[in-house]
Structure formats: C-alpha cells, structure tokens
C-alpha cells in the first residue's frame, strides 16, 4: 500500500535537496559577486570610488525574494513533517524504553528485545518513554528522531521498506555511556519476522538471568566480571560488607537478598559509597520472579 523505496525518508531528502539547492545558489551568487567586485574595483584599477547611498528598489527585491524562498522552505518542511507525525492506523506498535544506556523494545505480545526487529513493508509506530533522563531515538536510514522523555510518551513511525540492518543511535546526551547507547534496526522479510516473533514468544519465561539483565539494560552500568563501570560490578559482592549512604548518612550493611531487592526497587534508598545516585528504579519493570532470578544469579557469581 505504500509507495517506493524508503518512502518517508525520501520526503525528508526532497526537502533537503530543495533547501540546499537554493542555499548553494545564494552562496555562489553572493560569493562570486564579492570576488568580482574585489577584482573589478580594486584600488589600482578604480582609484575613485562612487558613493552610492542605497537603492530602494534593490532593498525591496532582496527582501521580497528571500521571503518567498524561505516561506517555500517552511512549507515543504512542514508538509514533510506532517507525514512524519501521522502514523497509519494499521501500524505495528512497539513500545520503546530508553534508559542509561540501552534500548528495550517491547512488542504487542509482551516480548522484549534489545534490538528492533521489524517486518518488511509494515509501518511501525514506536511509542517512546524513558526511565531516567532524556534520550533520543535516531534511525538515520529512515530519517527519524524523537526524544525519550521520562514521564511522557512520545512517538515516531516509519516504513521499513528494504531489508537489512540499520544503525539506531541515542542523540540526546545522557551521560558517560551516551556514545554506546547504540542498537540496530533489523528489517526482515515477513516470514523471517513471524518466525522470530513466534519463537521468542514461547521462550519468554525461560529466559536466563543474564538475558534478563541484558534486556533490561543492567549491563549498561554493571558487569558480571568484577570490574566497575558506572555502577558496582556484581562479582563476589553477595555476603560482603559494603558502605552505603542512606539519607545522606554513611552506614555499613551486609549485602543480602533484602538489600539487593531494595537496590533494584528503590536504588536511592541505599546508595553505594563512591557511586552517583543515578540508577533507575526497576519498580514495575522487573517482575518478582525476575528479581529473584537476578538475586540468585548474583549470589552464584563468585
């Protein structure tokens, strides 16, 4: 039902060509006139200048013509934009959650993934939210971008009309991992997509703990091999004593199940000393089983 190759991106590109075309023309005009005057009226050749105070006609011309040009630019830009803001009714819905520093895509059947898998030629509507700070979802190949704002839903849509793998970036600065908040858009043929979609559906529950952590972005800040990133590493912490800051006061605690659970649901309550209080709360995001699975997993990491 939709037209040609990269339909929407083409509309952006047309606007781009239009504006850049006019701009290049204007630039060449201005520059060549300047250079011509510099040569033609150089002092050696033209020792006596002529005082020309102005010319009303010219002023009007170079006010009116640019005005018309920029209004045309505005108009095309706006038309292109209107297409971008009106997703077709039959679009496939994908919920996007951004967090420091990973993306999570949730499909209508509840399936989660860290990459955006979409079938060919079906419009996709992305509903975007953020768990912590501002992010921005950018897919250069489809010329679309929209910020992920905590506490507010934003949206985007695009028509994946060519199979392949495309880059997906975060373009709103969000901390030290901003540059690594990169994912992929994989456009696959309908059959491949159905296979992927169905296959994952059954596997939803049996995901292992590491996968849970990957899909929820924990590994953007934590590691399982003991090194520190933005947050503490998980290796060997269970049962150890740690210094945390509670309500501005330092205290010592022993890392046990309860503490780990609290760390995930209410990370601001006890902040590990030496780390910033930036971890997003997982309340309402991780299910109870998932939390338990993670705790078990951390327990075993020796």
């Amino acid at each position: 039902m939709f037209m040609k190759f990269l339909y929407k991106s083409a509309s952006v590109d047309n606007v781009m060509f239009f504006i850049v075309g006019i701009s290049v023309f204007m630039l060449v005009l201005v520059t060549s006139l300047m250079i011509f005057f510099l040569i033609r009226y150089r002092r050696k050749k033209n020792p006596d200048a002529e005082n020309i105070e102005g010319n009303l006609m010219l002023e009007i011309i170079w006010t009116v013509i640019p005005t018309i040009l920029v209004l045309a630019m505005f108009y095309y830009g706006w038309i292109g934009f209107r297409i971008m803001r009106n997703p077709p009714k039959d679009a496939m819905l994908v919920k996007v959650t951004a967090r420091m520093w990973s993306w999570s895509f949730m499909y209508e059947n509840g399936q989660k993934s860290g990459e955006l898998n979409v079938p060919l030629n079906r419009p996709v509507k992305l509903i975007i939210n953020s768990e912590d700070v501002l992010h921005s979802l950018f897919i250069p190949a489809f010329r679309i971008k929209e910020d992920a704002v905590p506490g507010m839903e934003t949206y985007l849509w695009f028509l994946p009309d060519k199979t392949g793998t495309y880059d997906l970036f975060c373009t709103e600065y969000c901390g030290s991992g901003h540059h690594s908040m990169i994912s992929k858009v994989i456009v696959m043929a309908q059959e491949d997509f159905s296979k992927w979609y169905g296959e994952k559906e059954g596997a939803g529950k049996a995901q292992d703990s590491l996968k849970i952590m990957e899909n929820n972005g924990c590994l953007g800040c934590h590691t399982v091999d003991g090194t520190k990133r933005v947050g503490p590493g998980f290796k060997g912490i269970f049962g150890k004593e740690a210094e945390v800051i509670t309500n501005g006061r330092e205290r010592k605690i022993v890392i046990d199940k309860e503490y780990l659970r609290r760390s995930m649901l209410d990370p601001g309550a006890d902040v590990v000393k030496g780390f910033p209080d930036i971890m997003p709360s997982q309340k309402g995001i991780l299910k109870d089983e998932e939390i338990n699975a993670i705790i078990e997993y951390i327990k075993k990491l020796k």
């Binding site: 952006v12 009226y41 005082n51 020309i52 250069p140 910020d147 880059d167 990169i182 930036i278």
Partner: protein, 535 residues
C-alpha cells in the same frame, strides 16, 4: 611618536591607583575593554586546547587519548568557555567597551563603576567555573545546555559551574544596561540616531537582547541549582515536574544569545567595509533596521532547538515558521555588504580579507541554519554533527572571524602600533583553509548520521573525523601565527599614527592610543558616519 605636546595616552594615565590596581580598579572604559580582551583570550586559549584535544581523541574510533568521562567533561567545558566566556562577552564587552564611547564621541560609558563591576562579575564567574573543574565531583559533564534531568542527577560539579555561569549572566546584563543608557544619553552633539556608526546600532540592539533575555537564563540556572540542592521537583517527572519546561527556559535565553554573539560581529564588519572600499555604506537604514529586526525576531524562535523534544506539533510548526523570518534581515545585511563593494575603490588588506571570509563563512552557517529550521530536515539533522558544523560556521566562521577582522582593524587604535600586514595575510590563508578542512567534513558526517557528543563512533565515520582532525592542526597553526603577529606588534610594531586607514568615524579623530578622556574636546557631528571623497 611625534611631538612632545602629544596628549598622554590612557596607558600613561594611571588614575587613582598604580600598578596592576590601575587596571583592575580602573573605571576607564578603555582599560576595562582591555581587561576583558586579555581575560577572554586567555580563556579562549584554554578552550581551543580542549577543542584540539577533542579532535585528537576523535581521530580514530575507540579510545585514543582519554576516557569517555574525560571527553564528556571536555566538550562541556569547551562549550561553556567558548559560549559564555569568549563569544558572548567577546565583541560587546571587549571591543565594544573600548570603542563605544569613542564611536559616539563620549568620554566614557554612562556608568563607569558599574562597568568595572561587570568585569568583576565576569572574572569571578570565570574563576568559579575554573574552580568547579577541580573540586567536588569533578568537571561538569552535561554539555553546555545543562539539560535536566541528567544535570540534576549527575554527581559532577554542576552546581558550582552553573553558579559561575550565573555570575557571567549578571555581568552581561549589566553591560547591556550600560550600553543602552550610554547610547541614549551620551552621543556627541549633533549625532542623531541616523548619524551613528552602524556598529553602535548593532551594540544597541545587542544591549536590548542582553537586558531582556539574560535574566531568564539567570532564573533557569537558579532553578537548576535549587533543584540540585533542595529537590523542588519542578523538572523531575517523578515529582510531577516537566523537563521540557527547562528546555524552554534555557532556549528562551540561549537562542537570543546567538544574536548577542552575531550582531556585534555584523556591526564590526559594517565599519570595516566602507573604509577599505573608500565609499559610503550601501543601505544605511536597511542595515540599521535589520539589526533591530534580528534582535526582536530572535525572541520568537527558541523552539527550533526543541523540534524533537516532544513539544506539541503546533508549537513546532509555529517555531519553524518564525525561524525562517529571522533569516530575512540577515540576508538583507549580507546583500547590503556586498553592494557596498560595488564601485568602491577597494584595498584588500587583512581586515577586509577577514571581513570577506566572514561573509562567506557566515552565509554557509546561516544557510545551513535554514536546513535546521525546516521541520522535516531538522528531525533528521538534529543532534548530529550537522549541527556542530552549523554552529561552528556561525560562531567561529561568523563571530570569531569578524572579531579577528575587528582586532586587525582597530589594532592601531588600541595599541598605537601596526602589525605586519604580510604575516597577517599569511595567517589568514592558513586559518581559512584550516577552518574549512576542520568543519566542512562535519556537515557530511552529520548527513551520514553521526550523532554529536559521541566519545566514540562506528568505523564508517572515520574518514570524515580524520580529515577534520587534520584541519584542526592547520587551523591551530593559522591562529598561532595570527596571535604571534598581533602580540609581537604590541611591543615591536611601528607607530601607527592616529588614522592609518583613513577612517571617517570619530574614533579616528583622536590620537592612538586615545587619551584618558578620549577627546580633547567633544567633537560636534554634522553628518553621517561614512563620508568619503567628494562630499
């Protein structure tokens, strides 16, 4: 220097204090101007080094010389220094202070003591920012835009840095008040509004922007500080706040601020063109009014920085429309400048060279601004290197090149000496080449999808980044030569005499450097500012 009865220049008149105090406690607008210039270029130097370090890091994918945290701090500090310490005070507070009273035939600005005070705010703010780099949680890493909620959550020393910027805001506001009052009250007898040099017009327009926009920045920063200290929650969605309102408040100031940066620059080149074309300016009134038009339209467009922020679609449309309106008066200026060369008798010396390249580079920057301003294309290029290229073309290619032009042009007036013209031209060639090699690839990178504020990038972006880094070295060479030439000439240059270029505005009627009170006798003005040749 000529005769013995020459009036003592302001350098030789110390005033109430001696030594260094005769500078930092002086209320002489010329001394204050020089204080600004010195301080500004010191900070510029720091920020330039940071810029080059960034480029070095970006020469290849992966870690080259620094960690991600360091990189983020560096681009933040680079941006903050360049914007708030260099380019905003640059022409108005630095050159403007020195020149404004000279241009309108006054002995000083309207409030000399407040002028000194605003320098002290400036320097204190600058010091606070520098201190924030080495204390607390380390240098701020938010980008110069300080977007919430990240700027509230990060553990780095944002509060102190923001306080520093707040002080700079006060400094800028006070300068604006001072200039507007000065222009209203202290014009020499006979200098009607339409006899003022066009630089003064642009300073006047700038002054109003400083008065009416900067307080909003002040408030925004106060709010950011109090969020960090007390957690009111105005910008924290968990407490009911709204991060987009912060963006509005920030850009309500920061878009008009880009016109604080460019307007005085436009004014400065408008002084230069007629002098070297030996003819009057083309379209005096059009240029004067376009300054006011740019300043006022500048208030209407801040939302174009927020086209992808989740703002309402109606607001996006309105702001996009208004954005295009600002382009028109800028265009008027450009066309009038070009027309002012027509049938001139043009001498292509370094100030004019810098001016011509200013027009060229600013046009590129401005025209790509149109790409940013159209909705469809903005969605694509926002947050990419296309924007980085756009604003370096406008700020560096625009404002800074005009600033360099102005420095060369008024150098003999300020120091009483002449720089080496041949060397200045050579520096210009290298600077101009380096500039384009450095920033042009960024347009391409942006269109390929390279996001800004990225410490690391995918290998497919490498070519562009590599060329760009090479460009930064060429540019550095050019700047080094230029500054070498200027600094050397302060001490060793030939004496310049009071009017080496044959300028017709009032500053050239007094000796170089000017005496403490600028004019032996306040001149009486009988005609327009640019009267060459016959009449």
């Amino acid at each position: 220097m000529t005769t013995g009865d020459r009036e003592k220049s302001f350098y030789e008149t110390q005033g109430r204090h001696t030594g260094i105090l005769s500078w930092v406690l002086s209320t002489d607008h010329k001394r204050i101007g020089i204080l600004y210039l010195t301080a500004m270029f010191s900070f510029f130097f720091v920020a330039v080094i940071l810029g080059v370090l960034m480029r070095l890091e970006l020469i290849a994918p992966g870690r080259t010389i620094m960690s991600a945290t360091t990189y983020n701090a560096i681009f933040t500090v680079h941006g903050v220094i360049m914007i708030f310490l260099f380019i905003i005070p640059g022409i108005p507070s630095g050159l403007g202070n020195f020149l404004l009273p000279l241009l309108i035939g006054a002995r000083d600005v309207a409030f000399p003591r407040i002028n000194l005070m605003s320098w002290w705010f400036y320097i204190t703010g600058a010091i606070v920012i520098l201190v924030s780099l080495f204390t607390g949680g380390g240098p701020p890493d938010t980008g110069w835009t300080f977007y919430v909620p990240y700027s509230i959550k990060t553990g780095t020393n944002v509060t102190l840095a923001v306080f520093g910027v707040f002080l700079l805001g006060i400094s800028s506001t006070l300068t604006g008040i001072n200039f507007v009052t000065t222009i209203h009250r202290l014009r020499a007898p006979g200098m009607k509004w339409f006899r003022m040099p066009l630089f003064v017009w642009s300073l006047y327009a700038t002054g109003w922007v400083q008065i009416l926009a900067t307080p909003v920045l002040g408030l925004t920063l106060l709010l950011l500080m109090s969020e960090r200290l007390f957690g009111f929650g105005l910008f924290d969605p968990a407490k009911g706040g709204d991060p987009l309102l912060f963006e509005h408040l920030f850009w309500i100031y920061s878009h008009p601020a880009v016109y604080i940066m460019i307007l005085p620059a436009m004014g400065a080149v408008t002084e230069i063109i007629p002098v070297f074309a030996r003819r009057t300016i083309f379209g005096y009134k059009a240029i004067a009014f376009s300054s006011l038009a740019i300043a006022s339209a500048g208030y209407l467009v801040w939302g174009h920085h927020m086209f992808t922020s989740g703002m309402s679609d109606i607001a996006r449309m309105v702001f996009s429309f208004l954005t295009f309106i600002v382009a028109i008066p800028s265009g008027i200026k450009v066309f009038n400048w070009v027309a002012s060369l027509y049938k001139g008798s043009i001498e292509l010396v370094s100030p004019l060279l810098f001016t011509i390249s200013f027009i060229f580079l600013f046009s590129i920057g401005g025209l790509t601004g149109l790409v940013n301003g159209a909705l469809a294309t903005n969605i694509f290029v926002h947050g990419t290197y296309f924007i980085v290229a756009h604003f370096h073309y406008t700020m560096f290619g625009g404002t800074a090149f005009a600033f360099f032009a102005a420095l060369h042009y008024w150098f003999p007036k300020i120091t009483g000496r002449m720089y080496r013209e041949a060397l200045a031209k050579r520096a210009w060639v290298i600077l101009f080449t380096g500039f384009n090699v450095l920033y042009f690839p960024m347009f391409i990178l942006g269109l390929e999808g390279m996001p800004r504020r990225y410490y690391d990038y995918l290998p497919r972006f490498q070519t562009g980044h590599f060329i760009s880094t090479i460009g930064s070295w060429i540019l550095a060479t050019g700047l080094a030569i230029m500054f070498y030439n200027l600094i050397r000439s302060i001490f060793k240059g030939e004496a310049a005499g009071s009017n080496p270029w044959g300028g017709t505005t009032l500053e050239w009627t007094t000796s170089s450097p000017p005496p403490r009170e600028n004019f032996k006798e306040i001149p009486v003005v009988t005609g327009g500012p640019y009267r060459f040749g016959k009449d």
